[in-house]
Amino acid sequence: MTPIISIKGLSKRYGDKIVLNTIDLDVNPGQIIGYIGPNGAGKSTTVKILCGIIQDYDGTVTVMGKDIKDHVLEVKSKVGYIPELAELYDLLTLREYLTFIGKLYKLSDEVINDRTTKMLNSFGLLENIDQRMDSFSKGMWQKVLITSGLLHNPTIVFMDEPLSGLDANAVILVKELLQALKAEGKTIFYCSHMMDVVEKVSDRIILIDKGTIIADGTIEELKQSNSDNLEQIFSRLTSNGDFMQKADDLAAAMNDRDTHSINTEN
């Protein structure tokens, strides 16, 4: 099967800091990829490169058979990007904002209106369509971001913490949405810290730490024992695991008591 995303030797640095270190990765179409890693591991940078937002990197990245550096507009028109709690043009109404997004993708007014109405209705935002977005809650903003990322019916969807700020019902809705998109043959690249969701929805999980892929496989392949869940796998691979001690130290710090780790160092 020809991979829909192919990354070869991808490296990215900001000044002296290496954010991505020679990443190689192939993604087949129609899969949900769970892309996880600790803060600062390079997840968002990978997604921004795959969406064509960051273009100064080393290595080769092809999306749908096109090298992003040479076909950035073509790639951008076929992928959807849903960032985490991004800022929106909040002085616009919801309708104005989504119409603007639709026009950037050259959708007709009819298509924009039809899709906007259906999507906002599903998210329970239809009654807010003519309100300015500066009065919206975090969860409403996230729903707008999801709607605007899917409005042009992309083939690949990149989601960077799409569940931020959403209430429990909306989380269930988005999880169902992921399965529905997969059923339509779309590829979903899903970055998140919510391990239980990633474990449940992903066909394949990729764990990145310090700019390098340290684990890659299905949840079954990543498990070392039957009792492991993704959170435990994540913790085992990316930290030394002394969380109880660290939590005690934090609590002790608030009470002006000596902490264990400092005592140990002394």
Binding site: K76, A86, Y89, L91, E96
Partner: protein
């Protein structure tokens, strides 16, 4: 009014297409920017802490700029030497526009929200740069047109139609100078600080510019030149004005018969035409793309 400006900006649409812009996207971006400008809280060079619902921002701005224009046009009413009065007028207006743009417009140019809404969309760099330039141009026109009405009316009343007809040309050239100066200052600041800290530096600049602005208001134009309108000027004492770009613009009035009391020749008028055009060419060709690249990441 926004529709009129949008129509004007898109009038040369075939030219924008030749330059590589996507005119549908350009129209959509400009329309969005103007809508936001119209709703943005009112503030001249001040960042607003409070969010206030503004419905007709453009109309309120227009009224305030017209009132301010009456103040800036004082040299035109009180100084009978037309070349000197226009040099002072253009200096004041250019200073005001440049300072306002540097402090106020950074909010629009460094819109962090573009990162999430525009950069992931299939928009080419030329469309983005052109949208930014046209937005700046409309923004300046919205300020300059009402601000110049008083001077324009005064010239028509005091001097007649020839002077009034001449006025828009140096005015547009002055706008080009202002845009060049603003972009120049932005790029210089960006050379020393990162894009994220840019707004902080602009805040310091805001304080400094306020001091300069009030100094100018208190010194008053006549005292800067330390003469009264009835005395005779010695051109030799004011040779330095030949190096002031706004004086070059004022020398246009010598073309319709007003004397060059402070000296100078046709060469200054040629400079007054050539320099702003070169400035705007450099701005479009190099500065704006460079600026856009720097704030992108």
């Amino acid at each position: 009014m926004n529709k009129l400006f949008l129509w004007l900006a898109m009038l040369p649409a075939p030219l924008w297409r030749i330059l590589g812009a996507d005119t549908d996207q350009l129209t959509a971006i400009l329309n969005m920017r103007l809508m936001i400008d119209n709703r943005r809280p009112i503030g001249f060079g001040r960042r607003q802490a409070q969010k206030k619902d503004v419905k007709h921002g453009t109309l309120i701005h227009t009224f305030m700029f017209t009132m301010m224009g009456c103040f800036y046009a004082i040299p035109v009413y009180v100084i009978s030497d037309r070349v000197i009065s226009m040099a002072l007028y253009f200096t004041l207006l250019l200073l005001m526009i440049t300072l306002t743009l540097i402090t106020d417009f950074s909010n629009a140019l460094f819109d962090n929200r573009d990162k999430y809404t525009l950069f992931p969309r299939p928009i080419n760099d030329r469309t983005l740069v052109l949208a930014k330039l046209l937005h700046v141009f409309i923004y300046v026109l919205r300020m300059v047109i009402p601000m110049s009405l008083a001077a324009w009316a005064s010239l028509a009343y005091l001097d007649g139609w020839r002077s009034a007809l001449l006025f828009p040309l140096p005015l547009i050239l002055m706008v080009f100078m202002g845009l060049f100066a603003v972009n120049g200052v932005y790029l210089i600041i960006l050379k020393f600080v990162k894009a994220e800290r840019f707004k902080d530096v602009i805040s310091y600049f805001q304080v400094i510019s306020s001091v300069i602005f009030f100094a100018i208001v208190y010194l008053r134009p006549q005292q800067m030149f330390s003469f009264d309108t009835n005395s005779t000027l010695r051109a030799a004492d004011y040779q330095w004005v030949h190096f002031v770009p706004t004086y070059w613009l004022a020398t246009y009035w010598s073309l319709i018969g007003y004397p060059l009391t402070l000296g100078g020749s046709m060469l200054l008028a040629v400079l007054g035409l050539a320099v702003p055009l070169v400035c705007i060419y450099i701005l479009v060709r190099w500065l704006a793309p460079e600026f856009s690249r720097k704030i992108r990441y």
